[in-house]
């Protein structure tokens, strides 16, 4: 009896389930494991023995998850203790694995989850535990080191660029248009925000300014830039990351200096877009300012995913099983870009120590000197990742999404 387990962790993406189905399909195809278990709610659920025997569920019921966004196996934000100080959780975990004859653990997740992969890998080696530990990356933030990019990012980029095109058209219809501000996710890095530069009509970028957290946000420069552009074209389209920080590393979203007051005298607070809106109004550029916080739609908009991203997410799941079949353990599957035109990549094995607990920032050389846009290098990097539109199953005019019965 040789079984394996697969689980998901961290924030959802539109294609994280494709990686899961990739793992499952490869297991079924090469018959490397007798039973495939799903661990519900990541490591947190596994520690509570919340396991589902996937081999006992008809494949027909599972396959729809490939085209279902968000973490179909449930997720967690659980940080295991450092095994050097206290390895009780590790013992519990491997007791559970032992009970179910689990010899391989496939963990699909972001930065924190890859740190769990690192810790478990180290622990198995130190204690000669015969369980393979394999990480499969996912995050819309694209902030993992070593891999060219992460599954989930391409689809989020595509949705952001698409929505920006549409919001731009929506904001351009009147004789007197105003200023429109879109806020994207990206607490530490500007990859998602940079995707705004892909939004073009007739080859011309629709955004006027793009602000990333990698460079300090200068309010005076912002007001000057926006004022000048508004006077020139009576309309300004701005995209900003939720994680924008000022010169003293303070979050712009929490900065209250620009707060306006409503009719009850209450200060209006909100995200970055509200702060920027307040700056514009306070500096009397115009009062016609609209904002759009993309929120969770960025990471869950399966209806607007990239086929390239979907296929890569799936392929990384399959490859993880294939590599495990060769006896590899203690690794994270990554993507190495081989060329851009046409786009080609290959999968690689990465050391979890190099992946976890680091942040891959958006390169400063890809930000313009004015600190208010990104260069063509950014567009060339992101563009191949948003290509293609997969056929998704539908029902009654809507996407047909699947839920794992628990």
């Amino acid at each position: 009896m040789k079984n394996c387990i697969v689980a998901q962790s961290g924030g959802p993406t539109a294609v994280i389930n494709s990686s899961f189905i990739g793992v499952l399909d490869q297991c079924l195809e090469d018959k490397s494991f007798d039973t495939v278990y799903a661990g519900l709610n990541g490591i947190e659920g596994i520690l509570k023995e919340r396991l589902v025997n996937l081999s006992s569920i008809p494949y027909e019921e599972l396959k729809g998850l490939k085209y279902t966004p968000s973490s179909g196996l449930g997720s967690c934000r659980y940080k295991m203790k450092d095994y050097i100080n206290d390895d009780s959780e590790y013992k519990e975990l491997f007791n559970i694995f032992n009970k179910y004859h689990i010899e391989a653990f496939f963990y699909i997740g972001g930065n924190d989850s890859m740190d769990t992969v690192r810790a478990l890998s180290e622990y198995t080696k130190l204690n000669n535990i015969p369980v393979q530990i394999i990480g499969i990356p996912k995050t819309i933030d694209n902030d993992l080191m070593e891999t060219d990019h992460t599954p989930g990012f391409g689809s989020a980029s595509k949705f952001i660029a698409t929505t920006i095109l549409e919001s731009y058209l929506d904001s351009s219809v009147y004789i007197n248009n105003g200023i429109f501000i879109v806020e994207t996710m990206g607490r530490d890095t500007g990859w998602l925000t940079a995707s705004a530069a892909l939004a073009k009509i007739n080859g011309k970028q629709v955004c006027d300014f793009i602000y990333l957290p990698e460079v300090a946000f200068n309010k005076e420069k912002f007001v000057e830039d926006v004022n000048k552009r508004f006077k020139a074209q009576n309309q300004v389209f701005i995209v900003a990351s939720e994680g924008l920080r000022g010169e003293n590393n303070e979050f712009i979203a929490e900065s209250t200096s620009g707060a306006t007051h409503d009719k009850f005298g209450h200060a209006q607070l909100g995200g970055v877009c509200t702060s920027l809106k307040n700056l514009i109004i306070e500096n009397k550029i115009t009062t016609r300012v609209k904002t759009l916080e993309l929120g969770v739609t960025q990471r869950s908009a399966m209806h607007c995913i990239s086929k390239t991203d979907l296929e890569e997410a799936y392929e990384l799941g399959r490859k993880a099983v294939e590599y495990a079949g060769n006896g590899s353990t203690g690794f994270v599957v990554g993507i190495k870009r081989l060329q851009n035109n046409p786009y080609k990549y290959e999968t690689i094995l990465m050391n979890p120590i190099k992946v976890a607990n680091h942040i891959k920032y958006f390169p400063k050389t890809w930000i313009t000197k004015e600190n208010n846009f990104v260069t063509d290098a950014a567009v060339d990097y992101i563009s191949p990742l948003i290509q293609g539109t997969p056929e998704l199953p539908t029902e009654n005019g809507l996407p047909k999404y699947a839920i794992l019965k628990r």
Copy 2:
């Protein structure tokens, strides 16, 4: 020389340009007019003589607008004076029409625009002016009388239901989930909000509660309902209209009683979802509350439109020209639903007096007795309108949208 003019007015929709291309295509096909002009920015722009000769632009450059959201001809929110008191604007307008040999005016718009159609129709009759006045309805709000529904509504519904499915999955991944609130447009009517009831997985609705502006919102009942459901399933999914009003007709979004305070001591204000979030936190149901304001994406998400809606919008444009060819004037083209399975409709002529300055409310009989959901009748009504996914032109992995050169 016999020319016509087409213009757009009011808030954009994803398919308002399809009606415009419908007008253009029918004009080109039946050669009923020598030249087709576009009036830029609706009646406001026409009064400034902002006309574009569409017949001088290669069709190749225009046809992409059929698959481009938002008002490609520009829009306005301009209310003409009552001609009984002051008809100077009317004289100006018909002088401009006379100058360009314009004998028919096709106006694509919502409630206010149909009132312009009414006023111009009356004025032409009273003064024997040989210009036909034809209205083509559009509004995502679906609040026009006489027509079964309005072009634009089906696509907005489809986007709302799709995004709700995806947000629901996103909000369901943890062991301890929270409460998720989606805010839709709909200042006066609940048609858009009711679309949430279409969001089902395995036949089961994902929303727990749906709140419409047609019934007074009761805070105590809300807190009771949400609290009970949260205790039962550790997760509640709520959809509310921006236009929710309380027992005294006050907007819930402006109600400050439930406001929480941030770390600076400022009251947190916002839309309806912020007010509901504050109610939940204030009543100690949970602090885990996430919100999503769909904003302008609802009316501009071409990438997620309904084929049925697109085709109807286009067909109404064509029919408007066809009816005008029969000599009809002073009417608005409408939709009469013939049957649901399979869905069939026919176009009708409507009297602008019956369309303008009225509001078609969501039927109270389609709201559950508890005032917190809609009935199957609502689902049956909306469902046919969201069917089908058109093939849209793409470029570099994104929708290829067109802009009219001015």
